[in-house]
Symmetry: C2
Subunit: 439 residues, 2 copies
């Protein structure tokens, strides 16, 4: 490299992969507002969730324990699936920007599924397998979550069914092929497989779909299984999902310490909030302990601005109104975002924990338009050599802007962002951008 | 995992990444037949290659040194690009096959380009940059080599132009997009960019292309550069390319020793021969030193059977007859292979060093049909969770057959194969297979 011979990669040993998930609930400034039963309007009890979720994840959802042990079989599967992941220093990007800031990124794309999603898919498939579940059903946006759950299902011998938002289903055909290669069944949502899907299609036959609609279809599919051997699996939003992702931030904390760095800015994109929480929550815990004084920046698309323009209130997690009501930043359950390439960020709401931290001003939300996000992604590809997922390009854009702010103030700050996944199956978006056809 | 908690991954430290390339020339049983000048029919001198190759790689091509130091900048770039790569044990595949054999695979797909090709692309781009070259021109089949050279070119500040075989250009559109995202220029070959391309198109406007034709176009492009700032870069076949790939086998040798294993079977797919040589040559060197007693199996497609049905003779490396004559197994420079998904294996010839080892019966060639190869790939994806490139699926198929032979004989042999790349951009082939549409 022309930019010097210093190491660009910080690696961990397998024995440094976390043995516990970090649960942020006991460390929130105020207790989280409880989910409400949609019928009674009263706080939902664990049993209200048992029709759709495994008991183990319901217990984690409400747990007051700060650390939850990772089962041995889950940790083994994480080791098979790209853990520990490397922390890279983006020296070539720094040089191109001529910034005194140091930019680090955690690369979660180096596993068979290509994103951070296997971290929770593996845990969820394991817990369901242990409880005798045979079928997992889920929704997926851009397809990274559906890929990860298909993958985790095959590892633990489960059958898997995926409802994929139609706009992504059509624009990312390789995701469907990948999910089918793993042996799962996939439907474009809204589909004719469920009553709710049929209802939506009746009103609008060319409906582009949304994560809210796909969640409704997946839940309907689970509750109507006459054999009661099906469970629903969610890829983001809820606390149990986010805490599975904290392996990312725990590793990052170790790696930054190895590089003798304290983070000044921690950045991640947000759709439901899971990859952001994955890197941010453990570093926020470090901050509580006085180990850093970082600012936390959550990046969302301008076209789906739940935390920058939504309301902080109780709303349904899905469009049909089948889930408990949860308190979060939301654009309303009926909001249908435009068909952007970052399909993983097209969700009307936001994780309650992330929402609470935004409301407390402990997390700072920002938003960007699609074109400037792809422009950042191309700059990253042509300096660091890595094609990032359009979702991750939101984090790249914020990291670049932060580094340029540091340049103006001549400050050698330390920036770390989560590269949540690679963009190899999203190349049609890059191509559209390069050909000047992106709106 | 249900198949036991034993480790499935053997990792190296960065300081264990090789510091030398291994050159097999001094260890061949007989000296390699020299390349011949196409005009005079006499042995070609280094200067005959200078119009198209950098001086450094010409020196390596003919070197009698067993070990060639890896420059620091090249090694740094290799560390950025997925080195060291993990050696996995395919315990889930073993369990599915109920074989007593142990199956290991070296995973070369965990870098931004997704294949073994960056190992030589980085070295070649570096040497050219050092000699003041500004433009690199090459051909590519399935696109893995074109991707890698585009990537290496951006790392060293070079411009890059790629002629991609039309059948792959059309069937693997994401490869084109990836190469363009890296900033390179790409043409479907045969193209209108060169006189030879125009000639081929005049005879057959819908010509599917071949590696031989694309090589001719790339070389024509280089020799007609009026500024003399262009060089050609080759992704396989020649000795300098193969020796750059020996980082794979050197790492594998260390990793097998860490697992206290001696290989009994070493397997790789062959198109031009580079990934096979990469894993096999260092392990063959170990065998010469008495460290193992392995059999070496090279796997090619039935539809392009250069080593199983070709002749061992002097032939051109390209279709136009612009290269020196080299002694190799060949189907003849005018052989146009059918349009299979493993576009990287559609070459009429075979590396002279690999050819010599086949002729000496030190390497055993086998061939498989496309359907049985994809069947093996799907079994691998559904057990190990990794979608392999169609090229690599040839090695998987041979590894499975070898493991089943071991089962018949009840022998706990150790099999190691090279997983040369992932198949995420080749999913259309998997989809065709799963839908029963493959011939």
């Amino acid at each position: 490299m022309k930019n010097g011979n210093d190491s660009v990669k910080i690696l961990l040993d397998e024995n440094e992969v976390p043995r516990q998930f970090y649960n942020i609930l006991p460390d929130l400034p105020h207790p989280l507002a409880p989910p409400l039963h949609p019928g009674t309007g009263k706080p939902a009890s664990p049993s209200d969730f048992e029709a759709i979720f495994s008991k183990a994840v319901i217990a984690q959802e409400m747990s007051s324990e700060r650390f939850i042990p990772i089962p041995g079989e889950v940790r083994d599967a994480l080791l098979r699936s790209g853990r520990p992941s490397p922390l890279f220093r983006a020296r070539r990007l720094e040089a191109r920007l001529k910034t005194p800031a140091k930019i680090y990124f955690k690369h979660e794309g180096l596993n068979p599924c290509g994103s951070h999603k296997p971290n929770t898919a593996i845990a969820q498939a394991y817990y369901n397998m242990k409880e005798g579940v045979e079928h997992l059903v889920t929704e997926t946006g851009a397809g990274q979550w559906g890929t990860a759950l298909s993958y985790a299902s095959l590892l633990f011998g489960l059958d898997c069914k995926v409802f994929m938002v139609r706009t992504s289903f059509d624009s990312k055909p390789y995701r469907k092929m990948l999910i089918e290669t793993y042996g799962a069944t996939i439907f474009a949502s809204p589909s004719r497989e469920t009553k709710f899907g049929q209802k939506v299609l009746l009103e609008k036959p060319d409906h582009p779909g949304s994560l809210g609609i796909a969640i409704s279809e997946a839940i309907e599919c689970v509750v109507s299984d006459p054999k009661k051997k099906s469970k629903y699996s969610l890829g983001s939003v809820l606390n149990h999902v986010l805490l599975h992702q904290t392996v990312i931030g725990q590793e990052t904390s170790l790696q930054l310490a190895m590089a003798d760095e304290k983070p000044d800015y921690v950045i991640g994109c947000i759709g439901g909030g899971s990859n952001f929480a994955g890197i941010a929550f453990p570093l926020l815990y470090d901050k509580l302990k006085g180990k850093n004084n970082a600012q936390f920046i959550a990046v969302e698309p301008e076209s789906c601005p739940s935390t920058t323009k939504g309301e902080f209130k109780y709303d349904f997690g899905d469009t049909a109104g089948m889930t408990p009501l949860i308190k979060m930043y939301t654009l309303g359950k009926d909001f249908i975002p435009p068909s952007i390439h970052a399909g993983g960020l097209r969700y009307h709401g936001m994780a309650p924990t992330v929402s609470a931290l935004v409301a407390e001003k402990l997390v700072h939300p920002v938003s960007y338009g699609q074109k400037e996000v792809f422009e950042a992604g191309v700059l990253f590809a042509r300096t660091e050599g890595i094609v990032a997922a359009p979702e991750s390009c939101h984090a790249i854009k914020a990291a670049i802007d932060t580094a340029l702010e540091c340049k103006k103030r001549n400050e050698a700050k330390t920036i770390v962002f989560n590269l949540s996944g690679h963009g190899l199956l999203d190349l049609a978006g890059y191509s559209q951008f390069l050909e000047g056809k992106m709106q």
